[in-house]
Amino acid sequence: MHAFDVIAVLMVVGATAAFGVGAGALARADDVVAAYWLVVGLVSLRGAVQIARSGVRG
């Protein structure tokens, strides 16, 4: 497995954790914190897919 694939997997794991923290904050009605962690999760998830797919032919 390539090092970048490992990084992509770790970023997906990190995004999941960020989504979990964000959802928990949303449940506590802590909306600013929830928005922050949900955005961090989205950025991390998008980054993981971009890193995994960069350089793919076609």
Partner: protein, 264 residues
């Protein structure tokens, strides 16, 4: 409908295009077993539509005709509607077009007479919501069965048999691990926030966890499938550049978060 394949001719071992064309043939389908559903399918369209018609009549017409204070005209019209349904199904084999007209128009007109004769019978004080909804479903099914009757089974059904289909690609080893891990992560996210008491907030949390769970599952699948993709010769350099970009974004997000907590 396709029957079990044990009655089909065996496909040839060679599945090249030319031999596939040679192998194509039509063979008779195995006779379907006798079931009540198959027997119902052999009935005519009028007999089929009479079943939901009877239901609609029983739920919405007969209670009105025999309600307290209903005139005798309503009772006669209700009985005439029932007779038109049963009679049309009985004479369908001899005169299918007339039977269909008698069934649809007979039930429709006589039911209208009943409702006109007893206008208060379908009011909200006399008809509860559940019965009203089931009556609507009954009339909808009657209309559907009368307008689009089921096709009759052909006497000798044929099945088109060709060479077996081949998968264009196979699932690589490890892909299921990625998809399974993504599914577990998506499921774990659904466990968050079940103690919320405010309904609107609880709904928002559920929608959010559902959306991000699907996003995680999709990303895990993408990352797993990207391992098998053919890459450009400059892929290493491209991946480094993309990685640095996203690393910078992550650092920026961390800095914004740290600043937010410091000023809070």
């Amino acid at each position: 409908m396709v029957a079990a394949t044990d009655d089909f001719t065996d496909p040839p071992p060679d599945s090249s295009p030319s031999s596939s064309r040679a192998a194509e043939a039509t063979v008779p389908m195995r006779a379907q077993p006798f079931t009540p559903l198959a027997r119902l399918g052999d009935l005519g369209s009028v007999a089929q539509s009479s079943v939901p018609g009877l239901y609609a009549w029983a739920v919405t017409v007969s209670p009105a005709a025999w309600s307290k204070g209903a005139p005798w005209v309503a009772k006669v019209a209700a009985m005439a509607g029932l007779a038109s349904l049963v009679g049309a199904a009985a004479v369908e084999a001899r005169a299918p077009r007339r039977a269909r007209a008698a069934s649809v128009w007979g039930l429709g007109l006589t039911s209208s007479i009943v409702w006109l004769a007893v206008p208060g019978a379908l009011g909200p004080t006399r008809l509860d919501a559940a019965r009203g909804i089931t009556g609507m479903v009954g009339w909808a099914l009657f209309a559907y069965a009368a307008a689009a009757p089921a096709l009759k089974r052909p006497a000798e059904p044929q099945v088109y048999v060709a060479a077996p289909l081949k998968a264009r690609s196979k699932t690589r080893r490890g892909d299921m691990v990625y998809v399974g891990a993504g599914a577990i992560a998506a499921f774990a996210l659904q466990l968050v926030g079940w103690g919320v008491l405010v309904p609107e907030r609880a709904l928002l949390v559920r929608l959010t966890t559902l959306a991000v769970g699907l996003a995680v599952l999709g990303a895990a699948t993408d990352v797993g499938l990207a391992r098998h993709a053919k890459r450009l010769p400059v892929a290493g350099r491209l991946r480094r550049r993309v990685f640095v970009t996203w690393l910078a974004l992550t650092v920026l997000a961390g800095a914004v978060g740290g600043l937010f907590w410091a000023l809070r």
